[in-house]
Amino acid sequence: MNPIKHARNWGSRALPKKDPNFGHPLDTSHGPILYVEDVSVSFDGFKALNNLNLYIDEGELRCIIGPNGAGKTTMMDVITGKTKPDAGSVYFGQQINLLELSEHQIARGGIGRKFQKPTVYEALSVYENLELATAGDKRFWSTLTRGLNGEQKDRISEVMETIGLTDSVRNDAGNLSHGQKQWLEIGMLLMQSPRVLLVDEPVAGMTGEETERTAELLTSLAGKHSVIVVEHDMAFVRSIAREVTVLHQGSVLAEGTMDKVQNDPKVIEVYLGE
């Protein structure tokens, strides 16, 4: 399923005026799919992000690490439209200025976000959770009067396979284990046919086996999607990371492979020093 084709479907009808250029294929000709440039955010004088620069390539798997308060969650808030920065620019491809869009537009356009605490709709079944997340016309009248089409239903089965929850399809999401909820939420992101996945602490509270499966899942998603993982668990980061970015006090401290970053004296000072 081609996410761009999908975007075009609703891009022309759903949000005719304010909608960005989702109608055109995303322009990633220069490499990066996501540009975060000189972004600063402050809350009551505290600089959560300070001239942050970050470029994510198409299909890349990027891990972002950093001590508490480094600005990881704020960075996700800025990319997904929850927080508007004081300065800087955030572009999706070459054309789309994410700062002009609201959360639901960004989500429809192909940036999916998983929260730190697993957030699924507990009152609904696994199937219904995925159904709600399905890419398509998400306006009130359309969801009121129409069900899913065959293609969308096939996509649900496909995603259930990917996240390994086919056996629990009719179960209430509230009854799933912690790990299963995390996977379900990742599955919900996949239903949106996203180009970029933002995943906040996916293995927090998981057992060793669950962590392993999550690592496999995320690595298999890279390539098809750009995946940005924020994580504290260093062993986990090492097991999946190709490229690591270290945030500290709202800006990038170091960037590179895990080995390079780990031997960087600045990083050592931040993590071990003082």
Binding site: E103, V120, Y121, L132, K138, L144, G147, M188, Q192
Partner: protein, 381 residues
């Protein structure tokens, strides 16, 4: 297929609908065809009382749709009910014509009394029923749209939303109390003579209004079921349970809340419009914040988030109120308050939840077996 979707797995709703349908068939017969001397005769007083309850039930249904499913607590839903009522009241006033005390062919009595010479512009058109019918839907709908647009766009939720809806209905009450508003001041609109050419006090008209209320309630119930069983209904429940997640799933949460709120307000307006000819008066007291709070108690007592629970709640609390106030007219607020506290503490699922619990306990002996059976089938599937 649609009926299947609306009614399967809604046993309580089916029972309530069946009772409503039966009432709509039996009451007219027992009122009109059975002689007054018979013990089976239903008095016109009872018909009107039941008709009133049907309107309350429709109002409760409207509130349950937004409170029970979207988690939006409106403490001002009585305002939409009253606005629908005023629209109908204006039509009924214009129907009086020159039969008023002052005999003015155009102006209602209270305007003559205030020495007004012309009919205000906003009273134009209300002599026609079709225009009134449109206004009954439009006025509450537009107010809800404007109010909801401002509130939801600014992401006002929870207790803040409840408070501003309360302020809305209070402000409207104060405004309608003013004589200069042109809605009869604190006396409101009354002394109605006829509706669509039928005398408003005639038994047959009462039955007609009763039937209209019953049918409106049943249709509204099905419409609400249609919404909550659709995909949009599941989005609405998701907004209630995890609003941010829903937003990041690409849904424009504000517009879902807004349309649901508008639909709910329209239902409330229709309820008010059916209510006014049956009670024969509409005054600013209907905007009183207390009315809206009572409404919340009906829904909570019946069981929120079930739709039919709201109907059960509206009937049972109002029946209790009718019985109680015939003994101690002044003290109704005390049992009402007590009821609210009890429901909150003991019956969070309301009467409907209590029934469900009793049923479960009775089936308790078999429950162990059932759970294992269920687990088996799940594994099998």
């Amino acid at each position: 297929m649609l009926t299947q979707r609306l009614l399967t797995s809604d046993k309580g709703g089916m029972i309530v609908l069946a009772i409503l349908a039966l009432t709509c068939i039996l009451v007219p017969i027992l009122n009109l065809a059975v002689p007054e001397s018979s013990p089976f005769h239903v008095s016109t007083f009872t018909v009107t009382l039941l008709g009133k309850f049907l309107c309350y039930a429709l109002l409760a249904l409207a509130l349950d749709l937004i409170w029970g499913y979207a988690g939006i607590l409106s403490l001002g839903h009585g305002a939409f009910f009253a606005l629908g009522g005023y629209a109908m009241g204006m039509y009924l006033m214009r129907q009086i014509g020159d039969r008023g005390k002052y005999g003015d062919p155009l102006l209602p009595d209270f305007m003559v009394f205030l020495n007004w010479k012309d009919l205000p512009w906003y009273w134009q058109g209300f002599d026609m029923f079709w225009f009134t019918a449109i206004m009954i839907v439009l006025i509450p709908g537009i107010l809800a749209w404007v109010f909801g647009w401002l509130a939801f766009r600014s992401r006002v939720t929870g207790v803040y939303f409840a408070i501003i809806t309360q302020a809305l209905t209070y402000a409207l009450m104060l405004a309608f109390f003013r004589n200069e508003m042109g809605f009869g001041g604190n006396n409101g609109l009354t002394d109605f003579k006829d509706i669509l050419g039928f005398s408003i006090t005639a038994d047959s008209t009462r039955i007609g209004l009763f039937l209209a209320s019953g049918i409106a309630l049943m249709l509204a119930y099905l419409a609400c079921r249609y919404i909550v069983t659709s995909r949009a209904g599941r989005v609405i429940v998701s907004i209630r349970d995890a609003e941010t997640r829903t937003r990041f799933s690409g849904y424009k949460v504000e517009s879902y809340k807004l349309w649901l709120f508008v639909f709910s307000a329209v239902l409330a307006g229709i309820a008010g419009a059916l209510y006014v000819p049956q009670v024969g008066i509409i005054n600013p007291g209907e905007f009183s914040p207390l009315n809206s709070i009572e409404l919340v108690v009906w829904v909570a007592t019946g069981g929120r988030g079930t739709l039919y629970g709201a109907i059960v709640g509206a009937f049972s609390v109002n029946y209790g109120k009718t019985v109680f106030t015939s003994f101690y007219p002044e003290a109704w607020l005390f049992p009402l308050g007590l009821l609210f506290v009890l429901v909150t503490l003991v019956l969070p699922q309301g009467l409907v939840g209590l029934l469900g619990k009793i049923k479960k306990n009775r089936a308790g002996d078999n429950s162990d077996k059932q759970t294992t059976d269920k687990a088996d089938t799940k594994e099998g599937a």
